[in-house]
């Protein structure tokens, strides 16, 4: 081959890669900006709005004429909880969807979130646990249910409809367990019960955010370390193995990471409806095949929780927990995806 044409085609290649990368960078930057704006809105606006200066002053620890308590003690924990749980749900959801090559296979559809929620309620109400212990119980329960669903649907190519249908069944059973425990706990108010049924960031405290943040770092890190192999796994098991990916080990790591993320987030904010399910497909549409789906899905998750919570709090006639809002958005999308998947067996 002549050197000149080789250089020309190198240039073409480089340009393509740059353009693909540029789209990833632009989308990720836009998502980060959106998340930051929503965080700023959550911090400054509620029943009444504070001037940005007052909010910053309050955050910096200066006395800011009445803003200090509202911003630091009420809105900051709420905003942080929204961001951190949103990231966890988004990352955990897309990890499952990509790994199983099916947008319906997200942890909130196949019962992982439901099991973490039921376990958390059980730990709090019956066992009187709190803090890390609740999260630990939720993670263990999430892993057990993941294993159970795997075993029940084990059949070559576990990603199929079988796994999803079994997951939906398991999910429904576990939701009824949660509802039953809540009925047996008369001391709880309705708002608190709603957290465990649809998810809520009401009354979040800074100390509640810390375990979820820890999980985001540990399990998010594990997921990031597996991202390249996960990306290759999308080509099918045979192709992935041919490219040197240890498929079983990758699945194990990704499952552990995703269950960890979802379970910790659920034990703090409840199973915020459909955030895990919605984030991946939205991120995939935005990226249009460019790289960075994990990060994008995490950010979309954060945006969904922030926007859903703000909508539920202040934009609707009644005050609703975030899970009700995301659930209302998610349900039609679920129907749309079922119809679409049925038609073309589409993957994420």
């Amino acid at each position: 081959m002549s050197v000149q044409t080789a250089e020309a085609s190198d240039a073409v290649q480089g340009a393509i890669r740059q353009r693909v990368n540029r789209r990833s960078v632009v989308i990720l930057a836009l998502l980060i900006a959106t998340a930051l704006i929503l965080t700023a809105i959550t911090l400054s606006c509620g029943r009444g709005c504070f001037a940005p200066g007052d909010v910053i002053a309050a955050l910096m620890g200066d006395d800011a004429s009445g803003a200090t308590f509202v911003v630091n003690d009420l809105r900051l924990p709420r905003a942080l909880m929204s961001v951190v749980t949103g990231l966890c749900f988004g990352l955990g959801g897309v990890a499952f969807q990509v790994m199983l090559r099916n947008p319906l296979a997200s942890p909130d559809i196949i019962g992982i979130s439901a099991s973490a929620g039921a376990a958390a309620v059980f730990a709090i109400v019956i066992l009187a646990f709190d803090g890390w212990l609740v999260s630990a119980v939720a993670v263990v329960s999430g892993l057990l249910v993941a294993t159970l669903i795997w075993a029940l649907s084990s059949n070559r190519g576990a990603a199929g409809a079988r796994l999803i249908l079994i997951g939906i069944g398991v999910s429904a059973m576990l939701d009824s367990v949660t509802a039953y425990i809540l009925l047996e706990a008369p001391a709880w108010d309705r708002a608190e019960a709603m957290r465990w049924l649809t998810g809520s960031v009401n009354g979040a405290q800074l100390p509640d955010v810390i375990p979820v943040l820890g999980a985001l770092i540990v399990f998010g890190g594990l997921l990031a370390a597996s991202a390249r192999d996960l990306n290759i796994l999308r080509l099918g098991d045979d192709a992935a193995r041919a490219l040197g990916v240890h498929t079983e080990a990758t699945r194990l790591r990704v499952t552990l990471a995703a269950v960890g993320l979802v379970a910790f987030a659920t034990s703090a904010a409840g199973p915020i409806a459909f955030v895990a399910f919605l984030s991946g497909p939205i991120a995939a549409r935005l990226l249009g095949g460019s790289r960075g789906i994990l990060a994008a899905a995490g950010l979309v998750g954060a945006i969904l929780v922030l926007a859903g919570d703000f909508t539920g709090q202040f934009l609707l006639p009644a005050r609703l927990p975030v899970g009700v809002v995301t659930g209302a958005v998610g349900a039609p999308f679920l129907l749309y995806l079922i119809v679409r998947t049925n038609r073309n067996g589409g993957t994420i």
């Binding site: 081959m1 044409t5 080789a6 085609s9 190198d10 073409v12 290649q13 480089g14 393509i16 890669r17 353009r19 693909v20 090559r101 370390a225 390249r228 990306n231 290759i232 999308r234 080509l235 099918g236 098991d237 045979d238 192709a239 193995r241 041919a242 490219l243 040197g244 990916v245 240890h246 995939a284 990226l287 249009g288 095949g289 790289r291 589409g346 993957t347 994420i348």
Partner: protein, 273 residues
Amino acid sequence: MSFDRTLEAQMLYAGYDQRAILEDVTLGLRPGQITAIVGGNASGKSTLLRTLARILPTQSGTVLLDGKSLHQMRSRDVAQIMGLLPQSPIAPEGITVADLVGRGRHPHHGLFSRWGDDDERAVSEALKATGIEALAERELDTLSGGQRQRAWIAMALAQETELLLLDEPTTFLDVSHQVDVLDVLVDMNTSRGTTIVMVLHDLNLAARYADHLIAVADKGIYAEGAPADILTEALVRDVFGLECQIINDPVSNTPAMVPIGRHKVARRTNNAA
């Protein structure tokens, strides 16, 4: 240029679950050659290829790559030496040709290594070799079957392995694209010295393009050798259960098989005499 990688199977038992599809297979692949594996449906030809490529575990016996047990080597090390194009790989939605071909570089990267000049070169050479440079930016879903298959082959080429295994690379392609794909593989074989092993459905194309033919039947290897030496009417009868006549392929001067069915058989050639 040629490499002297060896890939051999010794007393290999392989199959799915506990069922053996291949029993006691011993063979050695010829470095630098094009080998075609042929056989009837469900004869185990794909199983043989997939086991050689360590996609399937062996039930007993070993597969040796350069004399080392394949199943004990690190998967990434194997992937730098041996590539495989599976029968039906899955294309992620919206993936572009360039991105897909780039995935072939996976085994050459660790956790923290970055995309480099070597990768750029390998990808552009693979696109060039398969003649799809102009399609690099296109999404795979928008291409024709033949172009899509070229893109997958380009991915396997970008892996830059000395051994390349392909599981029915011409399935679902019309005849012109079948010839096309096989020509690309011969190009790779002659220009880079890549050892090629493929399962092929079409016996005549196999006989034309392969240096070495392996006929699989009855859970084992029925015969192997140069097509001119082993492709006989008896082989086709035993391996495919088909009566036929072997003639000379006037284009390539290799044996060609003309099937004889129950119908449409003209009075024997002595009529014309």
